[in-house]
Chain length 321, copies 2
Amino acid sequence: MSISEFELIDRYFRRRGARRNDVVIGIGDDGAVLRPRPGHELVLVTDTIVGGVHFPAMMSAGDVGYRALAVNLSDLAAMGAEPAWCSLALTLPQADETWLQGFADGLLELAERFDMELVGGDTTRGPLTVTVTAHGWVPAGQALRRAGAGTGDGVYVSGCLGDAAAGLRVVMGESTCDAESGSALTRRFLRPEPRVALGQFLRGVASSAIDVSDGLAADLRHVLEASARGAEVHLARLPISAPLRACEHGESAIERALGGGDDYELCFTVPPGRESTLGDWLAEDGVPLTRIGTVVERPGLRFVDAGDVVVDRHISGYAHF
Amino acid sequence: MSISEFELIDRYFRRRGARRNDVVIGIGDDGAVLRPRPGHELVLVTDTIVGGVHFPAMMSAGDVGYRALAVNLSDLAAMGAEPAWCSLALTLPQADETWLQGFADGLLELAERFDMELVGGDTTRGPLTVTVTAHGWVPAGQALRRAGAGTGDGVYVSGCLGDAAAGLRVVMGESTCDAESGSALTRRFLRPEPRVALGQFLRGVASSAIDVSDGLAADLRHVLEASARGAEVHLARLPISAPLRACEHGESAIERALGGGDDYELCFTVPPGRESTLGDWLAEDGVPLTRIGTVVERPGLRFVDAGDVVVDRHISGYAHF
């Protein structure tokens, strides 16, 4: 196969997906030229996924394309940003046209859904590695941060936890599960839904936020460290889906919910005076929110059982090295 | 070795290099928050380098870090942009601390020299692959493009051509060369100088611009295609350095100058009425400029010899796939 980098970009990635009127020059020159939004700050995120490390080597091209953008949209959501533009650095062993078509479809359909335009990229030959850099806008001063959780704030998560980790086990054939539950969990692993609208709703409401990519325990610890606080989380309150309960026994389901990565839900804290605002979200959107605990003065993350007794529990999140 | 992603970023990349007052939140949260510059447009570029593909596997960590940023600075230069921020996606087989220190030094020293702040990143485990996404500013409407070359415009290049390709041969032990010339060419390969100041000077002067990364012939063809023009280039006018002449015979030196990649010089076109402006650049800066040919109406790139006779010559640039 002989296809140049330029034909590649042209054939699969150019002039597709959302078109935005703030893109002066898109794909096809040495760089993109983009028009800033007055009164706003630019939010910049970047995430790499590596074949055989962050996703199974046999995952479909469409699912890889979807994931590469979804993990970045999730970071934008955690900052409270409105998605705008992204660039793609795609390294792949050979220019397989069927694969490229599927990959571009998976990525660009998700981009279009969030009104995001692919404005630049680089394709190179090498082991399958995909880096997306994504850009969004927040009104000046309103970005959500990891720092900011205050003593007494409620600790919340969106959706359910642990589904994606259980779904990966189904995909890898490591789980015995009824077909319906297995299929629901697989979909949660393959097509995580970035909580973009929720992130924007939380501006001015949440005191801190992070997306759950490495597992709730690991990610909540980042919030607590950045905020110089601790938290008590009630194990019985963890939102565990029916399919996860159907596929994994009680203790193992809790393990997935606390330590499993790839859920891409938001974990955030809300001061007592603003918690009632969350009702406006629930009234408007189908994504459930659950208060799982409380921010406390004393540093560290502690888990408590139904009788409010602290439970000793070692949970390690996803280890990058 | 057990070092988490967060320790990695913290130890080697955070709170080093240039600090800019338009960075509201830098490395350490889910994303960076950046303040736009009024009256300006954002230029976004991204480039990936893969170990064993874009650079020899044995290249030093410092040289890899330098190159990863330099190729992006060169793209910003080709757009006429002033560098501002960059993000880094670093995939590496293991977290070797000596290597990381050298890599960070190579990248951050270059960033600091161009007043550029590293504002975000992702480190992942996998085969050595480095993607930098870089951002810069141009006054609204003034970005340099590939399209825009007009019939009769002069075709120019900065510096000398072919040195980097010859330097790579020296590095790989494929060249017999006197020590001094070999060392000069090696340095041109390992530490290419992005023509950032020249790119900004060319705003409002050049009618089109591109950086020479895949070889002059290949890159000039992109300009000609985007501009729907052709060009005649005089082989005798190609700027060939003394070290290149010392290491490669006449015809082979011309081959390097036309087909060799990695020089990261600028190739640009200037309308006749503005060519005198280039004298201001020469008076101010040490980077030489050479007029190598003329833009013509008839599409295609043609080479002419000393007698103005068109020379048939097949040159293929760097093939990405």
